[in-house]
């Protein structure tokens, strides 16, 4: 009944899976707060509050166990052909050692999932996803010379995110990663232990993801913690990650959108254009699943647009002042649907939001009727102050909310 026993001596009485890093993470999780992620136990936060972990991501380096990600290995002569058919991006231009982010859709052009594609070799790819996709991958590879393998539990992974992440890896890796560009991947070793490092992440900061053999997991964790100490390495949980990803305006499945495979009604489905992922749709690169529908949609404006909003402070402060309080800000990110109005009619809804500690702004990601979605439009955001509903102005602003130069730059 207790899974993960083989990969770790440490056990927990849980029906969920435990990551190869659980032996370490469980011992430093002072709050003992866990979330469920892909059938695994994942730390919500290690401290009693997530502040320190959040600031580690933004000012030092946060270390996150991202092993629960679904990972599929796609090999074979037709692997490129297959991926070109599966995802909306043009895989032909993906070089060996490159990583691409993409969504993939059903035949009606509605998004099923989103993730990254690593090109490890000419005919060797790794696809990551938020949800299980094996059936969909196999279904669509019918008749192709391609070998699809679920390696979710054969690869463990850590994300090292934050301005000091490069220095930490350089102090350990046998190869320097100074030249590793945004969305590229290399193989290297940490004290003789082989790892792959991709310059990717879910925080919108300078950061890397490290792909590891599960049996090496604890050794890699220990090396990182030991060497990273001088650079402020800090294990970080999902609460800190959630704020970071909202600041970076990165969408989350089941929170900001529903997979078209689970949507019970058509209205719950979204196209890439409606999720701000229009840039990943390469209509000129040939046929992929959903191509026709998306080509059509591209000609006519989509009904929805996915935007960033900033809840305006002065008006918010006034609402709270009326009841004798200072603004009561959400401490952690929220994931509710919050109505947005224009001239008293509802024109959209926000799906996740948070107080951004680094921007000092109350921000949210929202679906808005495209007629009301241009920059600087003022919408009304529904908020409850002392149990009573109010409307307070929120402005549509540019995303990502937070986009430091270091995210994509390399040292001189």
């Amino acid at each position: 009944m207790i899974s993960g026993k083989k990969s770790s001596k440490f056990t927990a009485n849980t029906q969920l899976k435990i990551s190869p890093f659980f032996e370490r993470t469980s011992k430093i999780n002072m709050s003992q707060e866990w979330k469920r992620w892909g059938g695994f136990l994942a730390s919500t936060k290690y401290d009693l509050h997530h502040d320190n972990e959040y600031f580690a991501i933004r000012t030092k380096a946060g270390l996150l166990d991202i092993s629960p990600l679904y990972k599929y290995r796609i090999k074979g002569k037709d692997s490129k052909l297959f991926l070109n058919r599966l995802v909306t991006r043009n895989i032909n231009i993906c070089e060996v050692g490159q990583v691409m982010y993409s969504s993939w859709c059903d035949e009606n052009g509605k998004v099923i999932d989103d993730g990254t594609i690593q090109r490890l070799d000419k005919e060797d790819f790794r696809l990551t996803s938020a949800e299980p996709n094996l059936y969909w991958l196999e279904l669509n590879s019918y008749g192709m010379d391609v070998d699809i393998h679920d390696e979710s539990e054969m690869i463990s992974a850590l994300a090292l995110q934050g301005p000091n992440s490069r220095d930490i890896i350089n102090s350990i890796s046998s190869k320097s990663i100074n030249d590793l560009k945004f969305f590229r991947i290399i193989n290297t070793d940490f004290n003789g232990i082989e790892v792959s490092i991709s310059r990717t992440g879910y925080t919108g900061d300078l950061g890397y993801e490290i792909w590891i053999k599960p049996s090496d997991s604890l050794k890699i964790w220990d090396i990182l913690i030991k060497k990273g100490k001088d650079f402020g390495i800090t294990p970080a949980g999902l609460n800190a990650l959630d704020i970071s990803r909202i600041e970076a305006s990165l969408i989350l499945l089941d929170v900001d959108y529903i997979s078209s495979r689970h949507a019970l009604i058509e209205d719950r489905k979204s196209s890439p254009y409606e999720l701000g992922l229009g840039w990943t749709v390469k209509l000129n690169s040939g046929n992929f699943i959903g191509y026709k529908a998306l080509k059509n949609e591209n000609k006519n404006p989509s009904h929805w647009r996915f935007v960033g909003i900033e809840i305006l402070w002065d008006d918010l402060e006034k609402l709270y002042k009326k009841v004798g309080l200072a603004p009561d800000l959400p401490h952690a990110a929220w994931r509710d649907s919050v109505p947005l109005y224009y001239n008293k009619s509802q024109v959209g809804y926000a799906t996740s939001g948070c107080w951004s500690p680094i921007l000092k702004k109350y921000i949210a990601l929202a679906h808005v009727n495209s007629k009301y979605s241009s920059l600087d439009t003022i919408l009304d955001f529904e908020i409850k102050v002392e149990h009573y509903r109010h409307l307070t102005p929120a402005k549509i602003v540019k995303t990502p909310f937070y986009n430091p130069k270091r995210k994509m730059s390399c040292p001189d």
Binding site: W313, A326, L329, L359, K361
Partner: protein, 526 residues
């Protein structure tokens, strides 16, 4: 001098308040020049690499009171504002410790361990201080009216403040009165019994002040420190990434963004006064700059007694400024360490090293430290407020090394026989010895030591007598009396000469408030 050299406003001093005023005036379209004597901006809010690889927030070392509207209006996050939370206060004792964090339950249990009564009262005390803080806020945010010869506007703002005070509930009003008048020790005695808790809490009532915890008036200073304003909600202390100087730089970047010119190593000698009006400034190097108005971010003593000839000022005003109390009482010891201190009572690394560390085991410890100062000596066993910036921000020190900032009281400016190198070192020794009582490994860790006496603070940062608040925060020098009655609204007896430093309402700390309010007042009457 060419026409181009004429400015709308010249600001003397590139401290954080001067820069704040510069940013607001530039934002309003004025042509502004800031003149800073030193090579670095920030005044007392500077970061300097004192020893190779070791950076220190040399003087001011924490951020708590920086106003949320200043952050928003000057768009400081865009220019580099990154405030890391200091979440806890650790009071090491000889055989035990007190460790308060931002976690309600954890702190309750920790205090409960020492006193059940205190644990209960502590849960009531926080919200009450929050309420009093909210109640004081409108007072802090009002331009201090002229209490002697009020204008219509003064009367209106007084009326609205009276209305506000009348609207307070009885309990808040009662505690506001108590906090305005009592000593922090007496005030806390009404609530708590565990001595280290009381002493540590009372310590914020003596910071920057020539008073002991048992001196009446210290409760207000404690309240002043309770009004921490991070993220627009009432919260604890923070540390700017890169040190406090980086905070000044974010304000400077904002000011430049709005068009301000900033010159460093430009020491102003005098304000040029013609026919009772300020018309510009003369630098020590002989250069002169003309402007419509001149604003001083210096403390009141320098603003008036150094920058202006006494003969240009009314006699009673000169007397008021001379009487303005600005006694220096604190020193700063900055240590470059080879590793982390190991506290006997709570050994090893841990969250207690991420917050404030307070050397305040008892009232007697603090009061005795004050006694030394009262009679003209530095404290043999001083009170200290310590932080380890490199734990929060590893870029402050080389990998594996650390910097430790010790704010120390007391060190009187007027020490018997005057400060000299020997006394400075003896003062540094007293600090290290006191520290080693609680963390014995500290002596072996010290790689470098910088000791700043009040005399050094005066010389380096231009703080008269080394007073970190530009004048003590005592009732007789607050609000309409700061720095002098009739001149508490940022104006001065000299036409077109204004003040915007911590010596004006609402006082010291890295708040940006005097700079902001002065700029807003000036823009209103310009």
């Amino acid at each position: 001098m060419s026409r181009l050299d004429k400015y709308d406003a010249i600001i003397i001093g590139g401290g954080h308040n001067g820069l704040t005023a510069a940013a607001y005036l530039s934002k309003a379209g004025k042509k502004v020049l800031v003149l800073e004597r030193r090579h670095v901006l920030g005044g007392a809010a500077v970061t300097e690499e004192v020893f190779p690889g070791f950076k220190f927030s040399v003087c001011s070392y924490v951020v708590s009171l920086l106003k949320a509207n200043v952050i928003r209006e000057l768009m400081l996050p865009r220019f580099g504002l990154e405030i890391l939370p200091l979440e806890s206060t650790f009071t090491p004792l000889d055989n035990d410790y007190l460790f308060r964090t931002s976690d309600y339950d954890q702190t309750y249990k920790e205090i409960y361990r020492h006193s059940k009564k205190d644990a209960e009262n502590y849960t009531r005390f926080g919200p009450l201080m929050g309420q009093v803080g909210m109640a004081v806020r409108p007072i802090l945010e009002t331009i201090a009216p002229n209490a002697i010869r009020p204008s219509i506007n003064d009367l209106l703002s007084l009326k609205s403040l009276l209305g506000h005070v009348k609207g307070l509930n009885n309990e808040t009003f009662e505690y506001l009165c108590k906090l305005m008048t009592m000593s922090s020790a007496d005030f806390l005695d009404e609530w708590f019994e565990f001595e280290p808790l009381k002493a540590t809490m009372s310590a914020s009532g003596i910071i920057g002040t020539f008073m002991g915890p048992r001196s009446p008036g210290s409760a207000y200073v404690m309240l002043h420190h309770y009004m921490g304003d991070i993220d627009g909600s009432f919260r604890a202390w923070g540390f700017q990434r890169g040190g406090t100087g980086e905070l000044s730089m974010t304000i400077a970047r904002s000011a430049k963004h709005f068009g301000a010119e900033i010159l460093t190593e430009a020491s102003v000698d005098k304000v040029i006064v013609k026919n009772g009006e300020a018309v510009g400034v003369a630098l020590e190097n002989g250069n002169e700059y003309k402007s419509d108005i001149v604003i001083s971010g210096l403390d009141p003593k320098l603003t008036f007694l150094k920058m202006i000839d006494e003969s240009d000022l009314p006699e009673d005003f000169v007397r008021d400024i001379k009487n303005f109390r600005i006694r220096g009482s604190s020193g700063k010891v900055n240590l470059a360490l080879d590793g982390l201190p190991n506290f006997t009572s709570l050994p090893g690394d841990g969250p207690h090293l991420r917050g404030a560390i307070s050397i305040s085991p008892s009232y007697d410890h603090l009061e005795r430290a004050y006694d030394d100062a009262k009679y003209g000596n530095f404290s043999k066993e001083p009170y200290m407020d310590i932080i380890l910036p490199s734990v929060l921000d590893p870029t402050m020190a080389p990998p594996g090394k650390h910097v430790m900032s010790c704010f120390v009281q007391y060190a009187p400016y007027n020490i018997n026989g005057g400060w000299d190198d020997n006394k400075r070192e003896a003062f540094g020794d007293a600090v290290v010895n006191t520290l080693s009582r609680f963390a014995p490994n500290i002596k072996d860790l010290i790689l470098h030591r910088q000791v700043l006496t009040p005399m050094d603070l005066e010389k380096t940062f231009g703080l008269t007598e080394g007073n970190i608040f530009h004048g003590e925060l005592t009732l007789q020098q607050l609000f309409s009396f700061r720095p002098a009655v009739k001149w508490a609204d940022y104006t001065t007896p000299i036409k077109n000469y204004y003040q915007c430093g911590s010596g004006t309402h609402p006082g010291g700390g890295v708040t940006g408030s005097p700079g902001e309010m002065a700029a807003k007042k000036i823009l209103k009457i310009w």
